[in-house]
Protein backbone atom coordinates (compact mmCIF):
# COMPACT_ATOMS: atom_id res chain seq x y z
CA UNK A 1 0.00 0.00 0.00
CA UNK A 2 2.87 2.39 0.72
CA UNK A 3 4.52 1.51 -2.60
CA UNK A 4 1.56 2.47 -4.80
CA UNK A 5 1.58 6.13 -3.73
CA UNK A 6 5.11 6.49 -5.20
CA UNK A 7 4.12 4.94 -8.54
CA UNK A 8 2.58 7.25 -11.11
CA UNK A 9 -0.86 6.04 -12.15
CA UNK A 10 -1.32 5.44 -15.86
CA UNK A 11 -3.87 8.24 -16.09
CA UNK A 12 -1.35 10.81 -14.91
CA UNK A 13 1.24 9.92 -17.49
CA UNK A 14 1.40 11.95 -20.70
CA UNK A 15 0.09 10.39 -23.88
CA UNK A 16 3.52 9.94 -25.45
CA UNK A 17 4.26 8.25 -28.74
CA UNK A 18 5.47 5.15 -26.97
CA UNK A 19 7.49 2.38 -28.62
CA UNK A 20 6.44 2.18 -32.23
CA UNK A 21 7.84 -1.24 -33.02
CA UNK A 22 6.87 -4.73 -31.98
CA UNK A 23 8.67 -7.91 -33.02
CA UNK A 24 6.77 -9.47 -35.92
CA UNK A 25 7.44 -12.99 -34.68
CA UNK A 26 5.76 -12.21 -31.37
CA UNK A 27 2.73 -10.79 -33.12
CA UNK A 28 2.61 -13.67 -35.60
CA UNK A 29 2.56 -16.26 -32.83
CA UNK A 30 -0.13 -14.36 -30.91
CA UNK A 31 -2.22 -13.94 -34.05
CA UNK A 32 -1.83 -17.59 -34.98
CA UNK A 33 -3.17 -18.57 -31.56
CA UNK A 34 -6.07 -16.13 -31.95
CA UNK A 35 -7.02 -17.82 -35.21
CA UNK A 36 -6.77 -21.27 -33.67
CA UNK A 37 -8.84 -20.16 -30.66
CA UNK A 38 -11.56 -18.79 -32.94
CA UNK A 39 -11.44 -21.86 -35.16
CA UNK A 40 -12.23 -24.12 -32.23
CA UNK A 41 -15.42 -22.19 -31.53
CA UNK A 42 -16.96 -21.91 -35.00
CA UNK A 43 -18.21 -24.31 -37.65
CA UNK A 44 -17.80 -22.55 -40.97
CA UNK A 45 -15.25 -20.36 -42.72
CA UNK A 46 -17.70 -17.48 -42.80
CA UNK A 47 -18.19 -17.62 -39.01
CA UNK A 48 -14.42 -17.69 -38.55
CA UNK A 49 -14.07 -14.52 -40.57
CA UNK A 50 -16.83 -12.90 -38.51
CA UNK A 51 -15.09 -13.88 -35.29
CA UNK A 52 -11.78 -12.44 -36.46
CA UNK A 53 -13.62 -9.32 -37.50
CA UNK A 54 -15.06 -9.00 -33.99
CA UNK A 55 -11.58 -9.28 -32.48
CA UNK A 56 -10.47 -6.53 -34.82
CA UNK A 57 -13.44 -4.45 -33.75
CA UNK A 58 -12.19 -4.67 -30.18
CA UNK A 59 -8.79 -3.32 -31.23
CA UNK A 60 -10.10 -0.64 -33.56
CA UNK A 61 -12.47 1.03 -31.15
CA UNK A 62 -9.64 1.50 -28.68
CA UNK A 63 -7.10 2.62 -31.25
CA UNK A 64 -9.31 5.31 -32.76
CA UNK A 65 -9.01 7.82 -29.94
CA UNK A 66 -5.25 7.40 -29.58
CA UNK A 67 -4.53 7.78 -33.27
CA UNK A 68 -6.84 10.75 -33.78
CA UNK A 69 -5.36 12.50 -30.78
CA UNK A 70 -1.79 11.89 -31.90
CA UNK A 71 -2.27 12.75 -35.56
CA UNK A 72 -4.92 15.43 -35.62
CA UNK A 73 -4.92 17.05 -32.21
CA UNK A 74 -8.46 17.98 -31.24
CA UNK A 75 -9.99 17.93 -34.74
CA UNK A 76 -11.98 15.12 -36.21
CA UNK A 77 -12.92 14.26 -39.78
CA UNK A 78 -16.48 14.86 -40.93
CA UNK A 79 -16.14 14.36 -44.67
CA UNK A 80 -16.17 10.83 -46.07
CA UNK A 81 -13.22 11.07 -48.43
CA UNK A 82 -10.90 12.70 -45.91
CA UNK A 83 -11.90 10.08 -43.34
CA UNK A 84 -11.01 7.32 -45.79
CA UNK A 85 -7.68 8.98 -46.55
CA UNK A 86 -7.07 9.18 -42.82
CA UNK A 87 -7.68 5.44 -42.54
CA UNK A 88 -5.49 4.68 -45.51
CA UNK A 89 -2.65 6.88 -44.31
CA UNK A 90 -2.51 7.53 -40.57
CA UNK A 91 -4.22 4.43 -39.24
CA UNK A 92 -2.21 2.14 -41.51
CA UNK A 93 1.02 3.89 -40.64
CA UNK A 94 0.35 3.55 -36.93
CA UNK A 95 -0.48 -0.12 -37.25
CA UNK A 96 1.95 -1.35 -39.90
CA UNK A 97 4.51 1.37 -40.51
CA UNK A 98 3.44 1.97 -44.09
CA UNK A 99 0.40 3.24 -45.96
CA UNK A 100 -2.21 1.07 -47.65
CA UNK A 101 -1.74 0.70 -51.39
CA UNK A 102 -4.87 2.00 -53.09
CA UNK A 103 -8.23 3.48 -52.30
CA UNK A 104 -10.91 3.17 -54.97
CA UNK A 105 -14.57 3.83 -55.31
CA UNK A 106 -16.65 1.06 -56.76
CA UNK A 107 -18.18 1.82 -60.16
CA UNK A 108 -21.50 0.09 -59.64
CA UNK A 109 -22.38 1.16 -56.14
CA UNK A 110 -21.84 4.67 -54.73
CA UNK A 111 -21.97 3.28 -51.21
CA UNK A 112 -19.00 0.93 -51.72
CA UNK A 113 -15.35 1.84 -51.46
CA UNK A 114 -12.40 -0.50 -51.91
CA UNK A 115 -9.16 -0.32 -49.96
CA UNK A 116 -6.51 -2.47 -51.60
CA UNK A 117 -3.37 -3.90 -50.05
CA UNK A 118 -1.05 -6.29 -51.79
CA UNK A 119 0.42 -8.14 -48.78
CA UNK A 120 -1.25 -7.57 -45.44
CA UNK A 121 1.28 -7.81 -42.63
CA UNK A 122 -0.85 -10.23 -40.64
CA UNK A 123 -0.80 -12.77 -43.48
CA UNK A 124 3.00 -12.94 -43.79
CA UNK A 125 3.41 -16.39 -42.30
CA UNK A 126 -0.02 -17.86 -42.96
CA UNK A 127 -0.54 -20.43 -45.74
CA UNK A 128 -4.24 -21.10 -46.03
CA UNK A 129 -4.99 -24.80 -46.73
CA UNK A 130 -6.91 -25.66 -49.91
CA UNK A 131 -10.11 -26.64 -48.12
CA UNK A 132 -10.42 -23.18 -46.60
CA UNK A 133 -9.41 -21.25 -49.69
CA UNK A 134 -11.88 -18.43 -49.14
CA UNK A 135 -10.54 -17.61 -45.68
CA UNK A 136 -8.58 -14.39 -45.48
CA UNK A 137 -7.14 -13.67 -42.06
CA UNK A 138 -7.08 -10.00 -42.96
CA UNK A 139 -10.70 -10.04 -41.73
CA UNK A 140 -9.04 -9.03 -38.49
CA UNK A 141 -7.90 -5.80 -40.16
CA UNK A 142 -11.32 -5.39 -41.72
CA UNK A 143 -12.73 -5.39 -38.17
CA UNK A 144 -10.26 -2.70 -37.13
CA UNK A 145 -11.26 -0.52 -40.09
CA UNK A 146 -14.94 -1.04 -39.37
CA UNK A 147 -14.54 -0.03 -35.72
CA UNK A 148 -12.54 3.08 -36.68
CA UNK A 149 -15.15 4.19 -39.20
CA UNK A 150 -18.12 3.42 -36.98
CA UNK A 151 -16.52 5.23 -34.08
CA UNK A 152 -16.19 8.33 -36.25
CA UNK A 153 -19.89 8.27 -37.09
CA UNK A 154 -19.66 6.62 -40.52
CA UNK A 155 -21.64 3.41 -39.99
CA UNK A 156 -20.54 0.72 -42.43
CA UNK A 157 -19.64 -2.92 -43.02
CA UNK A 158 -16.12 -3.93 -43.95
CA UNK A 159 -15.16 -7.33 -45.38
CA UNK A 160 -11.86 -8.72 -46.65
CA UNK A 161 -11.59 -10.44 -50.03
CA UNK A 162 -8.91 -12.08 -52.14
CA UNK A 163 -8.75 -9.67 -55.04
CA UNK A 164 -5.61 -7.88 -56.30
CA UNK A 165 -3.92 -9.17 -53.19
CA UNK A 166 -6.32 -8.29 -50.40
CA UNK A 167 -9.23 -5.91 -50.87
CA UNK A 168 -11.25 -4.46 -48.01
CA UNK A 169 -14.74 -3.75 -49.28
CA UNK A 170 -16.28 -0.91 -47.26
CA UNK A 171 -20.06 -0.61 -47.59
CA UNK A 172 -21.44 2.53 -46.06
CA UNK A 173 -25.05 2.90 -45.00
CA UNK A 174 -27.41 5.03 -47.07
CA UNK A 175 -27.55 7.71 -44.38
CA UNK A 176 -23.82 8.36 -44.73
CA UNK A 177 -23.97 8.88 -48.50
CA UNK A 178 -27.06 11.06 -48.20
CA UNK A 179 -25.34 13.18 -45.54
CA UNK A 180 -22.28 13.57 -47.80
CA UNK A 181 -24.45 14.70 -50.65
CA UNK A 182 -26.20 17.28 -48.42
CA UNK A 183 -22.88 18.58 -47.16
CA UNK A 184 -21.53 18.89 -50.70
CA UNK A 185 -24.64 20.72 -51.89
CA UNK A 186 -24.85 23.11 -48.98
CA UNK A 187 -21.16 23.86 -49.34
CA UNK A 188 -21.65 25.01 -52.91
Amino acid sequence: MQRSSKQVSILDKTLSRGKSEVNISTFALLFSEMIRYSQNRVNTVHELQTKLSELGHFVGSRLLDVIVFREKGYKRETKLLSMLMFVKGSVWRNLFGKEADKLERSNEDPCTYLLIEKDPLVNTFISVPKDKASLNCASFIAGIVQAVLEGSNFPCKVTAHWHNGTTYMIQFEESVIARERNLAESGR
Binding site: F31, S32, E33, Q39, F125, S127, P129, C137
Partner: protein
Protein backbone atom coordinates in the same frame (compact mmCIF):
# COMPACT_ATOMS: atom_id res chain seq x y z
CA UNK B 1 27.27 -27.47 -55.68
CA UNK B 2 23.81 -28.81 -56.25
CA UNK B 3 21.66 -29.90 -53.38
CA UNK B 4 19.94 -33.17 -54.17
CA UNK B 5 17.51 -33.76 -51.33
CA UNK B 6 16.16 -31.98 -48.29
CA UNK B 7 14.39 -33.95 -45.58
CA UNK B 8 12.76 -32.74 -42.40
CA UNK B 9 12.23 -35.39 -39.74
CA UNK B 10 10.08 -34.76 -36.68
CA UNK B 11 10.79 -35.63 -33.06
CA UNK B 12 9.36 -39.12 -33.35
CA UNK B 13 11.42 -39.98 -36.41
CA UNK B 14 8.81 -39.75 -39.17
CA UNK B 15 9.34 -37.74 -42.31
CA UNK B 16 7.36 -34.52 -42.40
CA UNK B 17 8.83 -32.85 -45.43
CA UNK B 18 10.97 -33.84 -48.39
CA UNK B 19 12.23 -31.96 -51.39
CA UNK B 20 13.90 -33.44 -54.48
CA UNK B 21 16.01 -31.85 -57.10
CA UNK B 22 14.67 -32.60 -60.57
CA UNK B 23 16.19 -35.88 -61.84
CA UNK B 24 19.82 -35.19 -62.49
CA UNK B 25 20.85 -38.32 -64.34
CA UNK B 26 20.05 -38.12 -68.03
CA UNK B 27 17.29 -40.36 -69.29
CA UNK B 28 17.98 -42.39 -72.42
CA UNK B 29 15.39 -43.29 -74.97
CA UNK B 30 16.21 -46.27 -77.20
CA UNK B 31 14.26 -47.98 -79.95
CA UNK B 32 14.74 -51.73 -79.80
CA UNK B 33 13.77 -54.72 -81.87
CA UNK B 34 13.02 -58.23 -80.67
CA UNK B 35 14.80 -59.74 -78.80
CA UNK B 36 16.20 -57.05 -76.50
CA UNK B 37 19.81 -57.30 -75.38
CA UNK B 38 19.27 -56.27 -71.78
CA UNK B 39 18.11 -58.68 -69.16
CA UNK B 40 15.23 -57.12 -67.27
CA UNK B 41 13.93 -58.31 -63.96
CA UNK B 42 11.30 -56.96 -61.65
CA UNK B 43 13.04 -55.54 -58.59
CA UNK B 44 10.81 -53.67 -56.09
CA UNK B 45 8.08 -53.96 -58.71
CA UNK B 46 10.17 -52.02 -61.22
CA UNK B 47 11.58 -53.51 -64.44
CA UNK B 48 15.31 -53.10 -63.80
CA UNK B 49 18.30 -53.83 -66.00
CA UNK B 50 20.33 -56.60 -64.32
CA UNK B 51 22.67 -57.63 -67.14
CA UNK B 52 23.80 -56.38 -70.52
CA UNK B 53 25.05 -52.84 -70.02
CA UNK B 54 25.34 -51.11 -73.35
CA UNK B 55 25.21 -47.65 -74.91
CA UNK B 56 24.88 -45.75 -71.68
CA UNK B 57 22.21 -47.97 -70.16
CA UNK B 58 23.74 -49.30 -66.94
CA UNK B 59 22.83 -51.98 -64.48
CA UNK B 60 20.37 -50.54 -62.03
CA UNK B 61 18.54 -48.41 -64.55
CA UNK B 62 14.81 -48.94 -64.72
CA UNK B 63 12.35 -48.68 -67.59
CA UNK B 64 10.67 -45.31 -67.13
CA UNK B 65 8.45 -45.26 -70.20
CA UNK B 66 7.33 -47.57 -73.01
CA UNK B 67 6.51 -45.89 -76.35
CA UNK B 68 6.13 -42.61 -74.53
CA UNK B 69 3.71 -43.93 -71.91
CA UNK B 70 4.97 -43.73 -68.30
CA UNK B 71 5.50 -46.93 -66.36
CA UNK B 72 3.95 -47.19 -62.89
CA UNK B 73 4.86 -50.05 -60.55
CA UNK B 74 5.91 -52.19 -63.47
CA UNK B 75 2.74 -51.67 -65.49
CA UNK B 76 1.93 -49.40 -68.40
CA UNK B 77 -1.36 -48.46 -70.04
CA UNK B 78 -1.74 -47.44 -73.66
CA UNK B 79 -4.08 -45.05 -75.38
CA UNK B 80 -7.41 -46.56 -76.23
CA UNK B 81 -6.98 -49.35 -73.72
CA UNK B 82 -8.27 -49.14 -70.17
CA UNK B 83 -6.39 -51.99 -68.57
CA UNK B 84 -2.69 -51.75 -67.96
CA UNK B 85 -0.21 -54.32 -69.05
CA UNK B 86 2.78 -55.73 -67.21
CA UNK B 87 5.89 -54.37 -68.88
CA UNK B 88 7.93 -57.56 -68.73
CA UNK B 89 5.24 -59.70 -70.35
CA UNK B 90 4.67 -56.96 -72.91
CA UNK B 91 8.30 -57.12 -73.89
CA UNK B 92 8.26 -60.92 -74.26
CA UNK B 93 5.77 -60.65 -77.11
CA UNK B 94 7.39 -60.21 -80.53
CA UNK B 95 4.34 -58.52 -82.01
CA UNK B 96 4.84 -55.44 -79.87
CA UNK B 97 8.22 -54.63 -81.42
CA UNK B 98 9.89 -52.36 -82.48
CA UNK B 99 9.38 -50.57 -79.18
CA UNK B 100 10.88 -47.41 -77.76
CA UNK B 101 11.97 -47.64 -74.13
CA UNK B 102 13.16 -44.88 -71.84
CA UNK B 103 15.80 -45.86 -69.27
CA UNK B 104 16.96 -43.90 -66.29
CA UNK B 105 18.04 -44.05 -62.68
CA UNK B 106 15.15 -44.90 -60.42
CA UNK B 107 13.97 -42.22 -58.03
CA UNK B 108 12.93 -43.03 -54.49
CA UNK B 109 9.25 -43.55 -53.87
CA UNK B 110 7.59 -41.77 -50.97
CA UNK B 111 7.41 -44.99 -48.99
CA UNK B 112 11.11 -45.58 -49.38
CA UNK B 113 11.84 -42.05 -48.27
CA UNK B 114 9.78 -42.52 -45.12
CA UNK B 115 11.54 -45.78 -44.32
CA UNK B 116 14.98 -44.34 -44.93
CA UNK B 117 14.38 -41.26 -42.79
CA UNK B 118 13.13 -43.36 -39.88
CA UNK B 119 16.25 -45.51 -40.22
CA UNK B 120 18.41 -42.43 -40.22
CA UNK B 121 16.64 -41.18 -37.12
CA UNK B 122 17.54 -44.41 -35.31
CA UNK B 123 21.13 -44.31 -36.54
CA UNK B 124 21.41 -40.76 -35.30
CA UNK B 125 20.36 -41.87 -31.83
CA UNK B 126 22.78 -44.81 -31.93
CA UNK B 127 25.57 -42.45 -32.98
CA UNK B 128 24.88 -40.28 -29.94
CA UNK B 129 25.01 -43.27 -27.62
CA UNK B 130 28.22 -44.71 -29.06
CA UNK B 131 30.15 -41.63 -28.10
CA UNK B 132 32.81 -42.06 -25.39
CA UNK B 133 31.95 -38.66 -23.95
CA UNK B 134 28.57 -37.84 -22.48
CA UNK B 135 26.09 -35.46 -24.11
CA UNK B 136 27.34 -35.97 -27.63
CA UNK B 137 25.35 -35.06 -30.68
CA UNK B 138 24.33 -37.70 -33.19
CA UNK B 139 25.52 -38.14 -36.78
CA UNK B 140 26.28 -34.70 -38.18
CA UNK B 141 27.71 -35.57 -41.54
CA UNK B 142 28.07 -38.66 -43.66
CA UNK B 143 30.44 -38.75 -46.62
CA UNK B 144 30.43 -41.16 -49.51
CA UNK B 145 32.13 -40.99 -52.86
CA UNK B 146 28.97 -39.80 -54.60
CA UNK B 147 27.34 -37.47 -52.12
CA UNK B 148 27.53 -35.90 -48.73
CA UNK B 149 24.78 -35.94 -46.14
CA UNK B 150 24.56 -33.33 -43.41
CA UNK B 151 22.12 -33.29 -40.55
CA UNK B 152 21.22 -30.61 -38.07
CA UNK B 153 19.10 -31.36 -35.03
CA UNK B 154 17.33 -28.42 -33.42
CA UNK B 155 16.97 -28.10 -29.67
CA UNK B 156 13.46 -29.49 -29.97
CA UNK B 157 14.54 -32.66 -31.75
CA UNK B 158 13.49 -31.81 -35.30
CA UNK B 159 16.17 -32.92 -37.78
CA UNK B 160 16.98 -31.18 -41.03
CA UNK B 161 18.85 -33.47 -43.42
CA UNK B 162 20.58 -32.23 -46.55
CA UNK B 163 22.04 -34.42 -49.29
CA UNK B 164 24.42 -32.59 -51.59
CA UNK B 165 27.41 -32.94 -53.84
CA UNK B 166 30.76 -34.12 -52.44
CA UNK B 167 32.47 -30.84 -53.24
CA UNK B 168 30.01 -28.62 -51.42
CA UNK B 169 31.38 -26.47 -48.66
CA UNK B 170 29.98 -26.71 -45.18
CA UNK B 171 26.24 -26.65 -45.42
CA UNK B 172 25.71 -25.52 -41.85
CA UNK B 173 24.52 -22.11 -42.93
CA UNK B 174 21.97 -23.61 -45.28
CA UNK B 175 20.66 -25.94 -42.58
CA UNK B 176 20.33 -23.06 -40.11
CA UNK B 177 18.46 -21.03 -42.72
CA UNK B 178 16.09 -23.91 -43.39
CA UNK B 179 15.47 -24.14 -39.65
CA UNK B 180 14.65 -20.44 -39.70
CA UNK B 181 12.21 -20.92 -42.57
CA UNK B 182 10.60 -23.80 -40.68
CA UNK B 183 10.23 -21.62 -37.59
CA UNK B 184 8.68 -18.87 -39.70
CA UNK B 185 6.36 -20.49 -42.18
CA UNK B 186 5.44 -23.72 -40.46
CA UNK B 187 5.37 -22.85 -36.77
CA UNK B 188 3.69 -19.46 -37.18
CA UNK B 189 1.04 -20.92 -39.43
CA UNK B 190 -2.22 -21.44 -37.49
CA UNK B 191 -3.18 -24.30 -39.82
CA UNK B 192 -0.10 -26.39 -39.12
CA UNK B 193 -0.12 -28.84 -36.24
CA UNK B 194 3.18 -29.81 -34.68
CA UNK B 195 4.86 -33.04 -35.87
CA UNK B 196 2.49 -33.35 -38.82
CA UNK B 197 3.58 -33.34 -42.51
CA UNK B 198 4.29 -29.78 -43.60
CA UNK B 199 1.79 -28.65 -46.20
CA UNK B 200 2.44 -24.90 -46.27
CA UNK B 201 2.84 -23.20 -49.65
CA UNK B 202 4.91 -20.38 -48.23
CA UNK B 203 7.41 -22.86 -46.80
CA UNK B 204 7.72 -24.62 -50.18
CA UNK B 205 8.31 -21.42 -52.13
CA UNK B 206 10.74 -20.01 -49.58
CA UNK B 207 12.74 -23.25 -49.51
CA UNK B 208 12.93 -23.43 -53.30
CA UNK B 209 14.14 -19.85 -53.61
CA UNK B 210 16.71 -20.44 -50.84
CA UNK B 211 18.11 -23.46 -52.69
CA UNK B 212 18.18 -21.61 -55.99
CA UNK B 213 19.98 -18.70 -54.40
CA UNK B 214 22.48 -21.06 -52.81
CA UNK B 215 23.18 -22.87 -56.04
CA UNK B 216 23.66 -19.67 -57.95
CA UNK B 217 25.89 -17.79 -55.59
CA UNK B 218 27.27 -20.46 -53.27
CA UNK B 219 26.60 -18.41 -50.17
CA UNK B 220 23.56 -17.95 -48.02
CA UNK B 221 22.82 -14.43 -46.87
CA UNK B 222 21.29 -14.30 -43.44
Amino acid sequence: MPIFHVFVVNRAGSLIYDWDMAPRAPELEKTLSFPIDFRLEAIDQRPTVVFGERDGVRVGHVVLAVNGRPVQTGRVSFEGSETDVDVLTYLQDERNFPVSLKFGRPSLTTNEKIILSSMFHSLYAIGAQLSPAAKSSGIRSLDTDQFRLQCFQSTTGTKFVLIADTQSASLDQVLRKIYELYADFALKNPFYSLDMPIRCELFDTALKSLIEKFERSGVVTV
